[in-house]
Structures are given as C-alpha cells and as structure tokens.
C-alpha cells in the first residue's frame, strides 16, 4: 500500500501543469463518495458513542445504588442529601434548591408547554363582544380580543422546558456520582471537598469551567436553541398565511422538503424547486469565481508590491488597506448607485453622447452577475493582498536563489515555488473563504438586492444567493417555513463541501510537502 502511494506521487511529479490540475480535480471527484461515506460513518459513530455513554452511566448508577449506604440511597430521591449529611453544605443546598425549583416549575408550567408542542387542541385568538356599556341611554359594546395560544411561544418555552428536564437529569446524575464519591472518600478516611475547596478549584483545576461558562451559555441560548427551533419550523407550515397569534400553524412533516425535490406542479411548488436549483447553482458559481479571482489577483498585487526594486511599498499597501477600513455599506451602496440606470456613469456616458441607452448594469441578468463578481474583486483584493504578503515573506529566500541558479524564469519560479507554497499554507483558508463567499450577504444585498427579479418563484432574483433569498423570504415574504428549509440546505451543502475538502487535504499536503 505504501509502495503504491510513493510510485503514484512520483508519477504525479512527471505530469505537466494542466495535467496535474486535472489529476487533482479527478482526486477531488473521487473523494466525494468516500467523503459522504465517512460522513455517514461519523454520524453513526456519534450515535453509537451516545448509546455507549448511556449504557455506561446507567450501569454505574445501578452499581451506586447497590453498593450505597442509606445516605447515598436517600440522595437518589432527595438531591443533595448526601452532600448535606457529609459536610458539603453549599453543594447540598444548591442541589436541593435545584430539585425544588425543577419540580415546582415542571408541575406548574413546564409539562403544559411540552404537551402543547404537539400543536393539537390549541386555543385560537378570538375577538368577542365585551360587556356592554351604557352611555347616555345608548348601549355600546366594545369588542375584546381574547388571546389564545401562540405557536412560536410554545416552541420556545417547550424547547426550554425539555432542555430543563435534560439539565435536571444531568444534575441528578452528578448528584449520584458525588454521593458515591464522598461515600468512598469517607470510607478511606478522607474528607470530601468543602465550599472553600470548590472555590479554589474554580480558579485552578476547574478554571476551564469558569472561563467557558459564560461564552457557552451565550452560544447555547442565542445560537443552539434558536437553531433547534428553526429546524423545527422547517417541518411546519409557518408562513404569511399562518402567523400566530391570529392564525396558528401546525406540523406538516416533510412537505416543505418535498417541495424542493419534487417536480410536480402542485400549488406552485415546481416554481419553487426550479428556483432553488438555479439559485443553488449560481451560489456555487459565485463562490468559485469570487474566491479564486480574489485569490490569484490578490496574490498578483501582493507580488507586485513585494517585488525587489519597487519603492513606496508602504504607501501602496496603505492605500489598499484604507479601502478595508471604510464600512462596506457605504462603499458598496455607493458603487451600486454609481452603476445604476440613473447613476453617475450612465448619465455621464449619455450626456457625452457615447451611448444611446443606459447600460443595464444591474437589470440584465448576465451583466449583473459579472458586475457583482467584478465589484467583489474590488472589495476582496486588499484582504487577499495582506494575507498573501504575510505568506510570501515566509517563503525561504534560498528556494528562489537556487531556482535562479538553475536558470528558472520568473514564471517558472512562480509555478514551481510560490504557488505550491501558497496553496499549501492557505489551503484551509481557501475553504473558509469559499464558504464565506457562499454566505456573502453584504456584497450581493447591498449591490443588487438580488435583482433582476426574474426567477420563476416570486421575489427571487438572478443574483440572489441562497442566503439573500433566505433573508428576503423572511423579511419580505414572511415565508418562514421555506426560509428554514433553505437554511438547512445551506448547512448541508457547507457541511458536505467542508468534509470532502478536509478529507482531501492530507493528500494535497503530502503531494506538496516542502523540505
């Protein structure tokens, strides 16, 4: 096996440059099934890990009960009992308080939210006539709105309540483990940890918990839970016609996903799937051109600035960096208006008599697509120039020296030394950049807003990326269910691309190893 790979890479070195490219492209395509398989295996392994974890924990809990004394066994039912009885007062109080709060909350509110998650038998909001008021002999009756259930609220509280249950189970498990631990410690004649020890540990051996508690909680409440709820929304019919509290929505299973993949024309779903396909294709094309045009042109600019004998290096660099500093919404909005039908360029050309009609920079689909890529080059080159400059400086100078002695021309030096080194070092960056471009909201939204809006599905445009489409589906169309589906699709596309590229990268690396 090892022999084979060596001979392969030797073979590879003999290829000409275009053939190498195709070889690499072939490797990339070949890696796709393997990448997908590994993804499935990884998911399987993840669930297997979880299952094993539960088995292990359950076994330990049973053992603890069997071997436990009375105090340990009592703390199975009254949390913190063991801690209180064994001198860990603070811990005991916290455990007990948590149990009381949990039971009260779940009994009074929690179970109701969880039960309502089925969205069955909900109260709709109604307008009913209120108590009649008599003013000056005339009877007035004012209508009163009686608010019923709200799906969104149910989802949020329901998910939070479920999470609270999980949290309780985990705390209960910790409580059991600690009972076991302190029972063993006492049996060995040692003293279990007190509050003072806990505080000291928080600043020392357990410092990672102190440091990461706040960021993790922030991510949990502002990213994880909202994502869970949005994934749930993808399985409902939450849209402009079903907006709570006036119109409730309900579960629809996989209907929304079917609309993307089926080509039957029922309720305009064909327009939706066609549009989805087109926008996905354009998103990938855009990400490809946006990433690689910036990459190579930025490298070119950096090499020009860094070339020996070019003066004022700092000035060139500062001028380009300056353009990063100006907030994008100013520069992009201005450029967008610059090329508008009524904008400076068109008017100037019209008034000078060089053109008869305004050039449709943003209204012709193809031209608009070319324009956003060009303007993106304008936006991206300064960043790329900075990054490339950093990498170029690290290339050992003697590589070039010996190449020069061997009589390599500048272009050969570029192809044999600079480019492979750059690709080697910035490989992961290229991937993140590609994904960043797939989700490049600002450039598209501020330049064209997705226009021209000539996609089969209403409101979608020719320069729309999945991400800008998602935004407009949410804000303009209130089509939340479809927005959620598109969000999930973006996630899947990004995840698959990342996995494949990550799996491929070691092979690229071993081929381009530098000594």
């Amino acid at each position: 096996m090892k022999n084979q790979s060596t001979s392969n890479s030797l073979e590879y070195l003999k290829y000409s440059a275009p053939r190498r490219f195709f070889h690499k492209f072939y490797l990339f395509l070949r890696a796709i099934p393997k990448g997908l398989l590994e993804l499935l295996l990884a998911i399987g392994g993840f669930f297997r890990g979880i299952a094993l974890y539960f088995v292990r924990e359950t076994r330990d809990v049973i053992d603890t009960y069997k071997n436990g004394d009375k105090i340990t066994r009592t703390s199975f039912f009254i949390m913190g009992f063991s801690s209180l009885a064994r001198g860990q007062i603070l811990r005991g109080i916290l455990f007990l308080a948590f149990q009381i709060v949990f039971i009260l909350y779940t009994a009074l509110w929690g179970w109701r939210w969880i039960a309502k998650l089925s969205f069955r038998g909900l109260e709709t909001t109604k307008v009913v006539p209120g108590n009649p008021i008599v003013i000056g002999g005339v009877e007035y009756s004012e209508n009163v709105t009686v608010y019923g259930d709200n799906n969104l609220q149910i989802m949020i509280y329901g998910v939070l309540s479920l999470l609270f249950v999980l949290c309780f189970l985990y705390t209960w498990r910790v409580n059991v483990r600690q009972s076991k631990l302190s029972q063993e410690l006492l049996a060995q004649g040692k003293r279990p940890k007190r509050a003072k020890d806990d505080l000291r540990a928080a600043l020392d051996s357990q410092f990672h918990k102190t440091v990461l508690a706040l960021p993790t909680l922030g991510i949990l409440f502002f990213t994880v839970i909202p994502i869970i709820i949005m994934v749930m929304v993808a399985f409902t019919n939450y849209d402009a016609n079903h907006t709570p509290p006036s119109n409730l929505f309900h579960w629809v299973g996989l209907d929304n996903f079917n609309q993307i993949f089926t080509w039957t024309s029922e309720g305009g779903s064909r327009a939706f799937s066609a549009t989805f396909g087109e926008i996905l294709t354009w998103t990938l094309i855009w990400a490809f051109f946006a990433t690689f045009s910036n990459y190579f042109l930025g490298m070119l600019v950096a090499m020009m600035i860094n070339k020996k004998g070019i003066r004022l290096k700092k000035l060139w660099r500062t001028i380009l960096v300056l353009t990063i500093a100006v907030p994008q919404f100013i520069s992009l909005l201005y450029v967008s208006k610059l090329f508008a039908d009524e904008g400076l360029i068109n008017r100037f050309l019209l008034e000078a008599g060089w053109i008869k009609q305004a050039i449709p920079f943003w209204t012709d689909a193809t031209l608009a697509r070319v324009m956003v890529i060009l303007v993106n080059i304008w936006v991206g080159i300064p960043y790329q120039m900075l990054i490339t400059t950093g990498v170029l400086m690290n290339i050992p100078a003697d590589l070039y020296e010996s190449a020069r002695i061997d009589g390599a021309r500048p272009f050969q030096q570029y192809v044999k030394i600079t480019l492979p080194y750059m690709l080697f070092v910035t490989g992961p960056y290229l991937l993140t950049n590609f994904i960043g471009n797939m989700n490049n909201f600002n450039v598209i939204y501020l330049l064209t807003g997705g226009a021209p809006y000539t996609q089969p599905y209403a409101g979608a445009g020719k320069t729309d990326l999945l991400i800008t489409w998602l935004y407009r589906l949410t804000v303009t169309n209130n089509d939340y269910k479809r927005a959620a589906v598109i969000g999930i699709m973006v996630f899947l596309v990004v995840a698959v691309i990342s996995l494949i590229v990550y799996n491929l990268m070691p092979s690229i690396k071993s081929e381009e190893e530098f000594q």
Partner: protein
C-alpha cells in the same frame, strides 16, 4: 548585461504603472463620495457630473440639523463601544479556554462550534426577534437588543484569538506553575499581558462590525428610526422614494462615518494586519 538591466527597468515601470492604476481604481469611489457630499445645489439626487456645480457644506448642515442622523450615529457608537468591550472579553475567555487549558470535552466543544458555524447566521433571526420583542428590546429599544445579540454568541469567533494564544510558549505557564501560581493567576498575569496585539485586533474588529451590520440591525429596529444604526438609516435614504432628495445627504453621512473609522483603523493597522495574516495562515 545592459539589455537585462533595461528589461528589468521596463518591468518595474510597468509594475509602477499598474500599481498607480490600481490605486486610482480603488480610491475613485471614495473621492466621488466626497465630491458628491460637497454638492450644494438645490437638487440633491444623483447627478451625471463629477465636480459639484456649487460647492458647499449644505449637506452636512442638513445632516446634523434636520435629520435623525445624529441619533443613528449615537446608537452606533454606543453599540460599537459596548460590543467591542464585551465581545473581546468573550472571545479572549473562549480562546484562552480552548487554547491553553486541557479538559474533557474540549474537542467536542470545538467541533460543536464548527458545526454550528455552518448554519447561516441569520437563520435564527425571527426567533431572536420574537424573544427580544417580548423583552422590549426591539424597535426603539433596539440598542441593548443588538448589543445582546452581537455579544451573546461571540465566543464562536474564537479562532484568531486561539491561533495567537497557541503561539505563546507553554514553558511560561509551566514556570509560573512551579512558582505556585493558580491557573487564574497565569491567565491574568502571564497570558493576558502577552496578548496585547490580539486584544487590540479583537477590539478593533468588534468595534467596526456594528458600523457595517445591516441585517440584524434593520430587522430588530424595524420601522422605528430612533432605533436605527447608521447602516440602516443611510440605507433607507437610498430607497426609491427618498433617493432623489437624500442622495447627497447619504454621501455626507457616509463621509462622517468613514473618516473616524478609517483614522482609527490606520492608527491600529499594524495589529489588524498581524491578526488577519496570522488567522489565515493557521486556517
């Protein structure tokens, strides 16, 4: 020999010419914005000429006297300052925890953040809006709401900070450990003083982000001008019904936003460049 020298000189001349063209191309839009903002003619929509026919500061006076621009600017500044400080704290805590501490679940946490990052950022917009609305933090209360949204999940952007912290030699920690320092003391007294470049980088990028954010800001402050930031406010002036009367004011507003931010950026350019290049090379 002589011909080689001439060749080289010609190549350099070509490069200079290209660089000059590039710089002009990159600067033109900003020069145009500045010139448009100095147009003092009665008509303040888009024009077909580059140099103003009447020069003057009319647009700037209008901007600060008669529009909500000062309010938007104040909102943006408050958001930018608060979120710069809090985000930096979050990012440094996360970066430190994941870079220099070893504990069970570290890999899981990093993978989880990686996977979460693959969801488009504002997929969850409606949920956050709903939650913030019930807490009274939308529309006119958008400023604290936006700060909360920016800061809460900012730990997810720990990569650059971690990349930097990874390069601080571990032997420093061990030496302090031998001297009896706790991990918290190492954090404060050893690592943080050495992290000045990355702290400044994080502060700078976090400060600049709210000036550009349109997505969340427009959704959370929806329809209530007193809660806008500059991006949302100025964007509203370029809509069909506003642009013919507010285009030059937009340009003036753009200049007012861009100048201080750019100056700050140029002042701290060194740190920015270090952060960007370091982050890219480590991936």
């Amino acid at each position: 020999m002589g011909s080689a020298k001439t060749k080289k000189r010609a190549a350099n001349a070509a490069i200079y010419a290209l660089l000059i063209i590039i710089c002009i191309l990159w600067l033109i839009p900003f020069v145009l914005i500045l010139l448009q903002s100095l147009r003092a003619e009665p008509y303040s929509g888009m024009s077909g000429y580059i140099l103003p026919r009447i020069w003057g500061l009319k647009n700037y006076v209008y901007l600060f006297r008669e529009t909500s621009f000062p309010v938007w600017y104040g909102n943006t500044l408050i958001i930018a300052l608060a979120s710069a400080l809090l985000q930096t704290a979050m990012v440094m805590l996360t970066g430190y925890g994941l870079s220099r501490l070893r504990f069970k679940g570290r890999r899981f946490l990093m993978n989880a953040v990686l996977v979460l990052g693959m969801f488009p950022g504002f997929l969850t917009m409606i949920i956050l809006y709903y939650v913030l609305k019930s807490a009274g933090m939308t529309q006119s209360g958008a400023v604290p709401g936006l700060i909360l949204v920016y800061v809460a999940s900012s730990g997810m952007g720990y990569y650059v900070a971690k990349g930097f912290l990874d390069t601080i030699p571990r032997s420093l920690d061990e030496a302090a450990r031998v001297d009896g320092a706790t991990k918290a003391q190492i954090f404060w007294r050893v690592t943080m003083p050495l992290s000045k470049p990355i702290i400044i980088y994080t502060l700078l990028t976090a400060f600049m982000a709210p000036f550009t954010d349109y997505i969340f800001a427009s959704y959370i402050a929806f329809g209530e001008p007193s809660g806008y930031n500059v991006a949302v406010g100025l964007y509203s002036w370029l809509q069909k019904d506003m642009i013919s009367s507010h285009f030059t004011a937009f340009c003036a507003g753009g200049v007012c936003v861009a100048v201080p931010v750019t100056l700050l950026f140029l002042l701290l350019q060194k740190y920015y460049v270090e952060g960007v290049t370091g982050g890219a090379v480590k991936g």
